[in-house]
């Protein structure tokens, strides 16, 4: 189960972006690549959240949660119509 990828939402502290990145999307991508070469980035969020979503293994998600500027790594939750 630890190796099965699933989707996560990664919330980032935008103000902690290292100076070497010109755009937040580059930082998000680099953060993702630091834990996985193959992880698929789903969305970047810039307005109502700062961060991105990606498909990761649980181990990759744990590793990402320890990266600089990551404030939360939340599992992608299923909601239902009412």
């Amino acid at each position: 189960a630890a190796a099965v990828p699933t989707s996560y939402i990664i919330h980032m502290a935008k103000s902690q972006m290292p100076a070497r990145f010109a755009e937040h999307s580059h930082w998000y991508d680099a953060s993702l690549r630091s834990v996985s070469d193959s992880a698929e980035l789903l969305y970047t969020y810039d307005t109502v959240a700062h961060g991105f979503s990606a498909k990761l293994t649980p181990a990759e998600a744990r590793a990402l949660s320890r990266q600089h500027g990551v404030v939360a790594v939340l599992p992608d939750i299923r909601y239902e119509l009412h």
Binding site: A49, V71, H82
Partner: protein, 664 residues
């Protein structure tokens, strides 16, 4: 929506809600199952140019041509499926459209409820006929498809909220939800917070997990959380038993009627080899025992319309569906494919006694069409989720109720009104129920208020809707809860039933800014990362020298949780506790003097409520005045509860706040 505008008084208050260019500048974003753009409800006749600030898109797809789908009414249509597809694999385009097109019906229903243009001669198979129109028919609508056959994923929802805010939506309507969870783990709450911070009103459904306690979704205080009530409209269908007794149920069946003389009538539980045959689950009925007969089924587990299909497939001639204790007397109408009616628990029990009384029982069902003027109405739907708030007990939820039972609105062109694969009927409008239906009513009303008061904050609009809501029928009796047959409590209806003509001129509002919610997070002892997750645009830390309290959040309602004091032997002591709440009201009317009155009712104890000051004098519009409320109560056994009300009035306006008391 052939009835709700009248039921909500919108027909009597045209002057209060001028259908002006103001309203046409408001864009409601609906996050749902997409849209069937060919519906007349999206007709843009009379609409001017798309608002200058609109940045949205109408995306192209195989079955979605923007040139034909979007217009000056439906100004945006997008879909978000990356999260869904990453979890469940590629969308099977033989089963659902990878486009904004709505193959389900739910999204077309909610979007037309909020904003649909007026469509004369609307009905579902002749039922509920009239002119269908959304609550804000002059508003524009943008749809964001986030829900698919396998569900709606938070990564897609957050992406859609992000897009909707960027696009320029003023109101967001989300008829979906998840479990009760801390706000920093809830993507709807996170997205809604940042939308609110940008002036966007977010209205969400409360959930359909009622009538159990603490069953609500969408609990964040910056969300308007909407429960469901009935209209004064019904669709009676009468069960006539062979013994001459009649019982009234509801149905939207419109095919060939049953014979007027009773035919054989059997209980499903006696026409099956299954221990749960009474529920009419697929494959459980014995055709030789039900062929040509009316079958009594009981509610539960599988969908109501599927039970009818099970009876039909087994050769049954009709179905009487009986509520059990879980649903009580709540009657939700369905457009069954065979003659069928739903009856309440009491009637169901009597009918069951009859059908079990012998081998030769008979019955028939007579369909009564559409009935208007049903009283009492509204009553709280049993399915409507209830408080208390499982995340923050000090914040009362739901916020209010709105029509959500047997609502007619637009429907998809690819599914029948029951949604069953075997239902080949195609309808322009459908009648369905849920807090999904009540939410877009409030979203549309929020659009109306935003059109009239473009400078009001999301919190002010929410406050106006809440403090003007009513809790009594015109005869003075309290709104009833169909689940109990008793007066509804604030945990059922929040501030009460929405009353738009009053909401447009509320007198006072309880305003809130994003900064106030940051203090609220401090009161909840949220950590800096947790706060940063919800409010990423702020570099905020709580001030260790400052006193924070949830009771200081300027909410338009009060939830007062007392802790039960226990003595050394574990029994309740006679001590009293005082909890103090702080509020600030803003005068949005003329200069006036408001006086406070309070009421409270708690079984087993007496509560003292002190408002200080009890008189607020406003000399100008926009002035703010603060007051405190002290609630002093004895220690009562854990599980005790009560309710009350605080009303500020200047003789013209009634600014009401519900109060809910609990002991834990």
């Amino acid at each position: 929506t052939t009835r709700t505008p009248e039921f909500l008084g919108l027909d009597r208050s045209a002057a209060l809600f001028p259908q002006s260019d103001n309203a046409a500048d408001i864009v409601v974003g609906v996050l749902d199952t997409g849209v069937w753009p060919e519906r007349k409800s999206f007709d843009d006749t009379g609409f001017g140019a798309i608002p200058a600030g609109w940045n949205g898109q109408c995306v192209a797809a195989k079955d979605f041509d923007p040139a034909k789908a979007c217009n000056r009414k439906l100004i945006g249509a997008r879909f978000f499926s990356k999260g869904y597809e990453s979890r469940l694999g590629p969308i099977d385009e033989n089963r659902e459209s990878r486009s904004p097109r709505d193959g389900d019906g739910h999204g077309t229903h909610t979007s037309t409820t909020a904003t649909g243009s007026a469509v004369p001669d609307a009905s579902l198979l002749g039922y509920a006929s009239g002119t269908a129109r959304g609550m804000s028919p002059r508003a524009r609508v943008a749809v964001y498809k986030v829900c698919w056959m396998g569900g709606c994923f938070s990564s897609d929802i957050l992406a859609a909220i992000n897009a909707a805010v960027d696009d320029g939506c003023h109101i967001l309507s989300l008829s979906l939800g998840g479990g009760a969870t801390e706000y920093f783990r809830d993507s709807v709450a996170i997205g809604a917070f940042n939308a609110m911070e940008r002036g966007v009103v977010v209205s969400c459904s409360a959930g359909n997990a009622g009538p159990g306690v603490a069953t609500l979704s969408n609990l964040a205080p910056w969300i308007t959380t909407v429960g469901a009530g009935t209209l004064d409209r019904d669709f009676p269908a009468y069960v006539v038993l062979g013994n001459g007794k009649n019982y009234t149920g509801v149905s939207l069946y419109s095919g060939k009627p049953l014979p007027s003389t009773p035919i054989p009538f059997v209980f499903a539980g006696n026409a099956t080899n299954s221990t749960i045959g009474n529920l009419c689950m697929p494959g459980t009925l014995l055709p030789e025992k039900v062929a040509g007969k009316i079958v009594l089924c009981e509610r539960g587990i599988n969908p109501r319309v599927q039970k009818g299909m099970v009876v039909k497939d087994a050769g049954g001639a009709g179905m009487v569906l009986a509520n059990t204790a879980a649903n009580g007397e709540e009657l939700v109408a369905d457009s069954h494919l065979l003659p069928a009616t739903l009856v309440g628990e009491k009637a169901g029990n009597e009918i069951k006694t009859y059908v079990l009384s012998g081998p030769d029982t008979t019955a028939t069902i007579v369909f009564g069409g559409t009935k208007i003027g049903v009283q009492p109405s509204p009553v709280v739907a049993a399915f409507s989720s209830r408080g208390p708030n499982a995340v923050t007990p000090e914040i009362l939820k739901p916020d209010l109720i709105a029509p959500g039972v047997n609502i007619l609105a637009g429907w998809t062109g690819t599914a029948g009104p029951t949604g069953l694969p075997a239902d080949t009927r195609r309808v322009e409008f459908n009648i369905i129920s849920g807090t999904s239906m009540s939410c877009p009513h409030v979203s549309g009303l929020a659009a109306l208020l935003k059109g009239v008061h473009p400078d009001w904050s999301p919190a002010a609009i929410k406050s106006a809707l809440m403090t003007s809501a009513y809790i009594d029928y015109p005869n003075g009796n309290s709104i009833l809860d169909v689940a109990t047959g008793l007066a509804a409590t604030p945990f059922d209806i929040g501030a009460g039933h929405v009353d738009p003509p009053k909401a447009v001129d509320p007198g006072l509002v309880y305003d809130l800014t994003a900064d106030d919610y940051l203090d609220f997070f401090c009161a909840l002892n949220y950590t800096p990362p947790q706060i940063a997750t919800i409010a990423p645009g702020r570099n905020f830390t709580c001030d260790s020298k400052k006193s924070y309290a949830v009771s200081k959040l300027n909410y338009p309602s009060f939830s007062v949780p007392f802790a039960t004091a226990t003595g050394s032997a574990g029994d309740s002591t006679a001590t009293t506790t005082t909890l103090t709440y702080e509020r600030t009201v803003t005068n949005v009317g003329s200069p006036a003097t408001y006086k406070a009155t309070t009421t409270a009712k708690v079984d087993g104890g007496e509560i003292k409520i002190t408002v200080d000051p009890a008189v607020l004098e406003f000399t100008e519009t926009g002035a703010k005045k603060s007051y405190t409320v002290k609630f002093t109560a004895p220690s009562l056994p854990s599980g005790s509860s009560g309710s009350g009300r605080l009303v500020w009035s200047d003789g013209k306006h009634i600014v009401g706040s519900p109060i809910a008391f609990t002991w834990t």
